[in-house]
Subunit: 253 residues, 3 copies
Amino acid sequence: MDLKEAYLALRKKKPLIHHMTNLVVTNLTANFTLALGALPVMAYAKEEVEEIVDKADVLLLNIGTITREQLDSMLVAAKHAKATDKKIVLDPVGCGASALRKEAARDIIAVGVDVIKGNFAEICTIAGKSAEMRGVESGEGNVDVAIEIAESLAKDLSCTIAITGREDVVSNGVGTAKIVGGSEMLKHITGSGCMATTAIACFLAVEEPFYAAMHGLELMKRCSEGLNYGGPASFQQAFFDRVFSFLDTGVEP
Amino acid sequence: MDLKEAYLALRKKKPLIHHMTNLVVTNLTANFTLALGALPVMAYAKEEVEEIVDKADVLLLNIGTITREQLDSMLVAAKHAKATDKKIVLDPVGCGASALRKEAARDIIAVGVDVIKGNFAEICTIAGKSAEMRGVESGEGNVDVAIEIAESLAKDLSCTIAITGREDVVSNGVGTAKIVGGSEMLKHITGSGCMATTAIACFLAVEEPFYAAMHGLELMKRCSEGLNYGGPASFQQAFFDRVFSFLDTGVEP
Amino acid sequence: MDLKEAYLALRKKKPLIHHMTNLVVTNLTANFTLALGALPVMAYAKEEVEEIVDKADVLLLNIGTITREQLDSMLVAAKHAKATDKKIVLDPVGCGASALRKEAARDIIAVGVDVIKGNFAEICTIAGKSAEMRGVESGEGNVDVAIEIAESLAKDLSCTIAITGREDVVSNGVGTAKIVGGSEMLKHITGSGCMATTAIACFLAVEEPFYAAMHGLELMKRCSEGLNYGGPASFQQAFFDRVFSFLDTGVEP
């Protein structure tokens, strides 16, 4: 499937995406899921996450404002998703910023996930490399290094690795894709990385991890191009409207 | 009072609505309360909810992302509201999705609430009926069954029951109303059901539960009709702007 | 520096602002930080707040939906910020509304903060005066009393006090400024006070507390004037777009 076909398959299936995400993007990613034609469910309580995983098609874990209690819940959910063959996508937000986040990413990965999506620094942290030493931020301008790390980490962890940047990179250790384009304005709204993870989660309900990651990132780039706006707030609105109906806009994927 | 009079009474009184709501709609329903001319206060800590209830006119409980700790707080707030004659509205979001949510809805209802507002599946769960067995989603296309359940449950629980769907139903066991119209776009933004509950909470400060529920749902439908938009994000903006000034727009309730 | 110079200095420095804020404005103030050209990080877990403070330029504490657990985290963060010479701004949201909030404000102030920003009632609570007895709401129409309280409290606490209202007041006990103008619409969107605190936090990264508070409040007023909108939602969008590019709009600070 290409992006257009995957988007149509997604809208036809209307999968339920169980989000355990951060406090900054709860509303945003719920709306983004709806804009994509899928259904969001946000549920965090340790007591209920297994039941919610049972009803959902995909589990999304985002450690952006994690606490120890939420990490416990996420691990319960992840183990149950794994045991019941549900796909899992991890967004290790800021995982280099604290020991708690490093631990969270490590423990969730140990359960087994299908896709890890992060910026250059986050993926470097997971790969045990120092992003700072390379003098880069989010891997921009250094796409060859990003490809190398994505391929190597994908092999090590037997999953798909997606690294966002000016050029996005996706690898499952066998194949590797580079996604170009998009808008600089995505940097000026909070949660654009988290929305990319939501897009990947949605596509995971209809295709294999490598293609889901590729199409999720491609959708972000295609839908953010050529919009009319006067600043970040009107950009975000135009972006959401475009995501909802991007096959009708004449923008071919 | 008709909707127009209730809306004016609400804007004149500017009631304070204590929300204990889910993480997805915290900002959204605070803004929705303001758009309606009322004042929101969001407060969750067990230590303070009684003091907040004392200052508020109405208590809104929404179990959308509930945890056991939050349920404890909600029960403290509900009992205090009941003891001090404050009105309570419950939104049992997804109460069929987990044992925790079923328990939350049951325990809050046991304290005594004035209005319960849910979709068809949620109200069926509370009524002990299986929504799935009826092969419906949110009661759409099955308004006669919704009326039957609303009337019966309203009598059983001695409160007002509001069931949202393509046609909304409100009953207090004596009278029953059906509200038609609205926009399909409300399905494509997250929290439209939660906003309806906020509208009901606001009207509860100026009129009896049956009318508050009817006018809350009527407001959602009237304000979502005939808007100009290019997708869900611009629809939401137009909807909020309309709610803020709908008596000035030439749209008569 | 005047507002224009401070805004340019801020956009050049791109400081990282560690927010520990309320559930209503998490997304809003993250986006507001980005619109100002700074970078937000929202982090709450007791286990990680010291590490986040180390990476941040300024710590913002907002007690809007505080729980005891979050207060503990905030105190850990505040003490570490103090010990490492990071600036702290406190927004004592609704601190008169409950014993927990009074305690939270008192305990955080005891650690030592650089700026306290509140409305008239909140600052009166901190000053141990009864706002209700004065028959005012948020100090509107009573700017002389606000000035008196700001000056006296600034001396007592050796910090900068900012009181918002129709006319804002800022004092560090030595100098006092009054900021006029702005838009009535800011009252109709939730979190406008919290955004003002974010603006102050951003300016704290590039100038002294008195000027940071003054410029933060001035920015809110200047950017909310003369906008085109049809209601609160389109006002908020226009306001954010303006904040992002207000030096380009012909509106001179």
